[in-house]
């Protein structure tokens, strides 16, 4: 018996008139996949598939769990977005235009989807359409203006204010691409990464004062032209620096450089690695030795992008497992079932209340492990937990994985 044999048998048992209607149905489905604007970038077929599902991922959607509103359930977001794209709902209505934005792009839905659909990925194209139609909030317009003016999601000085970040090697093997959030919010982790790379003997450059945001956040909320602009600047800088491998401390930057540029038709052949992927290689090669005991108990939070987009839950554990004396206490929901930190989908820019509520839920799960340090490998997650800690008036340490590893260097 083959996978489709029941269907083939069924087809040949049908009356000719019924079989003909089936053929017409199969060949005519594309009539339901048209946008009113003719925009082919929106995947209407998958949006409709998602819209037709009884919401089998519903429990996992962090946006729904904090808003409690049906409008933000994954399949309902897909249904309403399908109706917007088909011209049945008016995106000039600000409440309607909000629909595709209340998604933190955590891919939790995809983890449970029998059709392997990420609602968040589909919504990115709808957001881009809303940007083109100028149906977006003032917060988002301000965000785009800021990125274009500053070349980072923060201030002009995010990278340039710290000369110690700026490293330039002759013929480097690696370009260390520090994320905007890491540089702005976790400068100690950037310094830790620099120390680790130096200790491992890696020849690397950062060109910190010249670098720009990867463009990932802009792409996520729909500003694709901005992403293209930033991509051009970054690729020019990589070419100038001369390294063939890009190592970044931010999984979202890695996803943008590795995947989003290609999705936008921007080609390059740099190898892009996250710091944890790179450190795992260095450890296995024997060039990075973690020998000094770190007698601490930590818990580890898998960033959504690493665990679900890249399918990598092992690199971080491999690296942490090499730190002598370190005890790892896993949270109840971990690895592929990790929960969003609240910062995904650039939600802290356009829906800060919901973003912080999501972050607080995950923070509470991590605190429950009893570990005194919460460790992750994504600056956005770490920022989310720092905010959650402040809101909870907690005292737990929030660390980047580099800050743990650096303590194990002799």
């Amino acid at each position: 018996m083959g996978k489709s044999s029941w269907m083939i048998k069924l087809f040949f048992s049908m009356k000719p008139s019924v079989a003909w209607k089936f053929i017409k149905g199969f060949t005519g489905a594309k009539k339901y996949y048209k946008t009113s604007s003719g925009n082919a970038a929106v995947d209407m077929k998958s949006l409709l598939k998602c819209a037709h599902c009884p919401n089998m991922c519903k429990f996992e959607c962090p946006s729904l769990r904090v808003t409690h509103k049906e409008m933000y359930a994954p399949a309902v977001k897909a249904r309403l977005s399908y109706l917007i794209e088909r011209g049945d709902l008016d995106p000039a209505d600000p409440h309607t235009a909000e629909v595709p934005y209340l998604c933190v792009n955590c891919d939790g839905c995809r983890n449970w989807c029998p059709m392997d659909i990420s609602t968040g990925q589909l919504l990115k194209a709808v957001r881009a359409d809303l940007v083109d139609m100028e149906c977006i909030s003032e917060d988002l317009k301000d965000f785009d203006t800021r990125v274009l003016e500053n070349d980072t999601i923060f201030s002009k000085t995010t990278f340039s204010a710290r000369p110690e970040f700026d490293i330039r090697a002759e013929n480097p093997d690696v370009f260390y691409f520090m994320g905007c959030v890491m540089a702005e919010k976790k400068p100690e982790a950037v310094l830790a990464n620099i120390a680790i790379l130096k200790k491992a003997g890696v020849k690397f450059s950062t060109h910190a004062s010249e670098r720009s945001c990867c463009g990932g956040p802009s792409n996520t909320v729909g500003f694709r032209a901005t992403t293209r602009h930033l991509a051009e600047k970054n690729l020019a800088l990589f070419a100038k620096a001369g390294a063939k491998t890009i190592v970044t401390d931010c999984p979202a930057c890695a996803d943008t450089l590795r995947n989003v540029y290609k999705e936008l038709g921007i080609k390059h052949d740099y190898m892009v690695l996250t710091t944890i992927e790179f450190y795992k290689i260095l450890i296995d090669q024997g060039t990075l030795k973690l020998e000094k005991p770190v007698n601490e108990t930590i818990t580890y939070h898998d960033p959504c992008i690493s665990a679900r987009r890249f399918g990598d839950v092992e690199s971080a554990r491999h690296v942490l497992g090499k730190v002598p004396g370190l005890v790892l206490k896993e949270p109840f929901l971990t690895k592929e079932e990790t929960q969003c930190c609240g910062m995904g989908g650039v939600s802290h820019v356009h829906h800060p209340t919901e973003s912080e509520a999501i972050g607080s839920q995950r923070f509470a799960q991590l605190v429950k492990t009893g570990a005194k340090s919460i460790v992750s490998s994504c600056p956005a997650c770490e920022e989310g937990f720092i905010i959650a800690r402040e809101n909870a008036k907690g005292k737990d340490k929030v660390l980047d994985i580099a800050e743990v590893i650096v303590n194990a260097l002799d």
Partner: protein
């Protein structure tokens, strides 16, 4: 909005602005909405033909306003307000119902209970958990699993259903042969009645203290009140879980195996028998099952009991010439049990389909399967009708039918859908079956309530009238057909 409304006969609300203002005073500004996107979001549940309506540019029904209360007190005030103004109230949990019970067929106030999602108490000694009913099933399972417990109620809609929905539809889960259906699991509940009063039923393991009125709310589909809190039975997380699979030559041998196992008071948690069409569809990798009926058993609990249950199942299956198919079909069942792709795959291809679950006593089982399949095949445009037996009792069985076809000849898509449903109901009633096992009545089956119950329906209506004299609680469902 460029969409037609199927259920157009909305009640007239004279002062909607005033109503919205009053609701905001109860629930708070941000928890009341008349925004178009919200109204469309709450226009449907998971009733399958409503997916067809999306591509036909239709919405089933629009509420006038949606409110998200935070607690029973707010629910009570909202219902009281609706009672004073005689406005329909439609309780909404997770919207996973497949019979249209959450569709606001006359408009009104949709009351979403998702904010009532707290676990109030877990009692290890009594083995109970008390929850607010807006909590999602899988979310609740995660909380309980972390503490080492389970409820054992795992419907296919587990990921997308609420405890309130389980109660409102008297639901049944995949592991129900062991753990029971929701009526076996619920011990007590808190209900906001149609006049806004709040009633708590007493918690006890069992009592002889007069009619059990809380039973009325099981399967009431929001027509008698809103269940806002419930105490459910718990069990320690099972020590062992193991399955077996056998292929049988016909329904008689497969059903007889299960009947004889249950007759010995052996209750495997999961039992599923798939007819040859569904066996070929789901278990195509198993050559021994070709042309046969795949039967999956899963036993769980303490190891000694599981071993005894498996041995009993094996012995009875062998007596009925069952072919041992090993563990692969069991693993496949676990891997795919929540894979609901059909609604997404077939609807855009203009295929109209649905699932219909009915029950009967053992003596009528084989005849019911044959009759329902035969009746459905008479419907013009019908391409497929198949079934698996999904739930079992020492006294009888539930069949879960699937039909699929196309609008053909003079039948529109809606007419084909209704004709298929009517055929299944005719076949069921002809075989002494009951028209719904666990999905409920809603709007899909309302026209079949009279043939199902006869004079008992009048008794139900009297109860409904006594508790909700102005018929504000989810009108157009269960006892009456909704006007289009």
């Amino acid at each position: 909005m460029n969409l037609d409304v199927v259920y157009k006969k909305r009640v007239e609300i004279k002062d909607l602005d005033g109503l919205v203002k009053d609701l905001k005073a109860i629930a708070g500004e941000q928890w009341v909405s008349t925004e178009e996107a919200d109204l469309v979001a709450y226009s449907k549940d998971a009733m399958l033909i409503t997916n067809r309506w999306i591509i036909e540019k239709k919405v089933p029904g629009l509420p006038h306003v949606i409110v998200w209360p935070e607690n029973e007190d707010q629910v009570s005030k909202i219902v009281k307000l609706a009672a004073e103004r005689k406005i329909p109230v439609i309780p909404y949990g997770e919207g996973s119902g497949v019979v249209g019970a959450a569709i606001p067929v006359y408009g009104g106030i949709t009351v979403d209970l998702k904010r009532l999602d707290k676990v109030i108490d877990v009692n290890d000694k009594d083995l109970t958990v008390t929850v607010q009913t807006g909590i999602n099933g899988k979310a609740l399972e995660r909380i309980l699993k972390e503490k080492g417990y389970l409820i054992g109620h795992v419907p296919q809609s587990f990921h997308t259903a609420s405890v309130g929905g389980w109660i409102a539809h008297r639901a049944a889960g995949q592991f129900s042969t062991k753990y029971g259906k929701i009526e076996d699991i619920v011990l007590s509940m808190r209900v906001v009645m149609a006049d806004g009063s709040i009633v708590d039923t007493k918690l006890y393991p069992r009592a002889s203290n007069g009619p059990q009125l809380e039973r009325l709310f099981l399967s009431s589909e929001g027509t008698l009140g809103i269940v806002t809190q419930a105490t459910l039975k718990l069990w320690p997380w099972p020590e062992k879980q193991e399955g077996v699979a056998f292929a049988f030559s016909d329904w008689g041998h497969a059903l007889e195996t299960v009947r004889l196992v249950l007759r010995q008071q052996i209750y495997p948690a999961v039992v599923r028998i798939y007819d040859p069409i569904e066996t070929e569809r789901h278990f195509y990798k198993e050559p021994k099952a070709k042309g046969k009926l795949m039967t999956v058993f899963v036993c769980e609990g303490i190891a000694k009991l599981v071993d005894l249950e498996l041995a009993t199942v094996r012995a009875e299956a062998e007596k009925q010439a069952g072919i041992d198919c090993g563990q692969d079909p069991v693993h496949h069942w676990f891997e795919t049990r929540f894979d609901v792709k059909e609604t997404s795959t077939w609807t855009p291809k203009d295929v109209i389909f649905d699932t219909i679950e009915v029950s009967c006593m053992w003596k009528d089982a084989v005849a019911l399967y044959d009759n329902v399949v035969a009746e459905m095949r008479k419907v013009p445009g019908m391409a497929m009708s198949s079934a698996h037996a999904s739930h079992f009792y020492p006294q009888g069985v539930c069949f879960y039918f699937t039909f699929g076809g196309v609008s053909s000849g003079k039948l529109s898509a809606d007419e084909f859908f209704n004709a298929a449903w009517d055929a299944a109901m005719v076949g069921t009633l002809k075989s002494n079956g009951s028209i719904s096992h666990h999905h409920g009545i809603g709007i899909v089956r309302a026209r079949w309530m009279k043939p199902e119950h006869g004079p008992v329906l009048e008794l139900m209506k009297r109860v409904k009238h006594a508790l909700d004299p102005d018929n504000i609680m989810n009108p157009g469902k269960l006892y009456e057909e909704a006007d289009k």
